[in-house]
Symmetry: C5
Subunit: 135 residues, 5 copies
């Protein structure tokens, strides 16, 4: 009975797709706690949906760390708004967060609806402040 | 006697509504420490008030993690000002915090007074800088 | 001999007011390390001064967590500049910190000199940018 | 079998260059989790590529901490965008991050392509807003 | 053999000034990892240089926490750029960091070269935006 051993039991039940099951992720060194339902919501073909439900035996090439958390080699900073989007369906960015960072994560996880939203935000920001046509 | 086992005793006493009892929350992977009194203050019908006092046997569908902290599958970033509001009754947002993120949490937890305040803040921010009518 | 048990010994010596004794605080879930001397400096009648020296047997209604840290049900975000002020006597705020959040903590801990300083900062910020009288 | 001992096994296999092997870094006190493949990607002559693959017996003068994480005496704040760049090849900076801090890390780790990109960003920022020549 | 006991061995060898020895600091509750060489670099008469090399038996009045980290009762927020400066000799501040906070730490640790640089930065920031003389 090592510390953290009680979180390992979640691991043995990965054979199911129980949406209320608690999942711990280790994204680039930062721990996120969520449910299987959140990770597999929206975009049913996203990498997260496949990793944590559909093809979990094939697609899931990651490992777990010593506490039983699933290891994901991505940026925790830009994963935060991605996970929040999966919780309630809205993309919310703080003022100091670069949307290009979130776009890279949306692409990696194959969240097609988010990719479009983020590309629009980036386009809008890159337009010059003075955008009146020089007639 | 595992590490953290001393925080588990708080769990057994959830049958009461003792406001001075210490509660540990694991919100999306981040740990918050507060009291039952703070969580059940204001909006007596909020989800938090029901979860941590009234209907605790019915409404509380969450679980606890290995350290005895109550698991909540929400954003820790936007829960922070919510919990702070419950402590003293004032909504205080830092400049880089997006009020739309806090609004989603206020809606989730059913804090009706906060929802109105946040919607006003968002309305005000979305008004153009130059809002003088073009007479 | 559990992990963290070595920090518990600080607890037994709370009967004195030794300023060089190390104190660990758990403020809303975040750990702060400081000394008894820092917490009881300035405003001798502040709640912190009374909690950690004078009336420690009466005024100290808080508890300690599993690691021996004193539990305080307040915002760690806005406690940070308060603790820093107690270290050297200067109030220093980063640009994205809302002074109204720090004011609530200064009021809670009864730091009267800080309350005045913060109210002045808030007054100054709320003045419109264009404050020339329309003669 | 101490806590964290399971991460030590990664240590014994450092003799290979297995890109899918998980690596834990302790950069200035903050833990980052990534793979050997990410650390040795791009700039094959970078210090990271040599440390974690090529000359690992010679070039790797660092040590590991009690949990088996490789110790690196650098800024975690500015290492974050460096590691993110190694994951997908794009340099992404949040608005409040000083590019000069990231430049120092790029120089330290010998990431030549990043150094050029960062120097261009810094040059552009230092140009005055009004840069029209006074004819 | 408690968790963290392997970091305690660094403690016994504090009698030397080995620059490549790893040091763990607990600054106000946040852990920083660095080397003795970094802490004693530049300003040879700084408090850090004396604490971690020269007068270590006399000057070092601090203690170590349960994990063997040296306790320092200062702000971790403003210590971060100080430690980074000691690593490569450049002072780098993010946009939201108040230089007055870093100045207090530079003064405390007796880093005379940094004090001057920071005072210049603060002077420049306090100048009004429109500083053309009204002839």
């Amino acid at each position: 009975t090592l510390p953290g051993s009680d979180t390992l039991e979640g691991l043995s039940s990965t054979s199911g797709c129980n949406p209320s099951e608690w999942i711990t992720l280790n994204v680039g060194g930062k721990v996120f706690t969520t449910t299987r339902g959140t990770l597999t919501r929206f975009d049913g073909d996203s990498m997260l949906a496949r990793m944590f439900c559909k093809d979990k035996d094939i697609g899931w090439s990651s490992r777990v760390d010593g506490t039983g958390a699933y290891l994901i080699d991505r940026s925790p900073l830009y994963f935060e708004p991605i996970l929040n989007y999966l919780r309630h369906g809205k993309l919310i960015l703080d003022k100091n967060v670069n949307p290009e960072g979130v776009l890279e994560e949306a692409k990696f996880f194959g969240l097609t609806s988010l990719i479009e939203t983020l590309e629009e935000i980036i386009d809008r920001e890159q337009q010059p402040d003075d955008n009146t046509p020089i007639t």
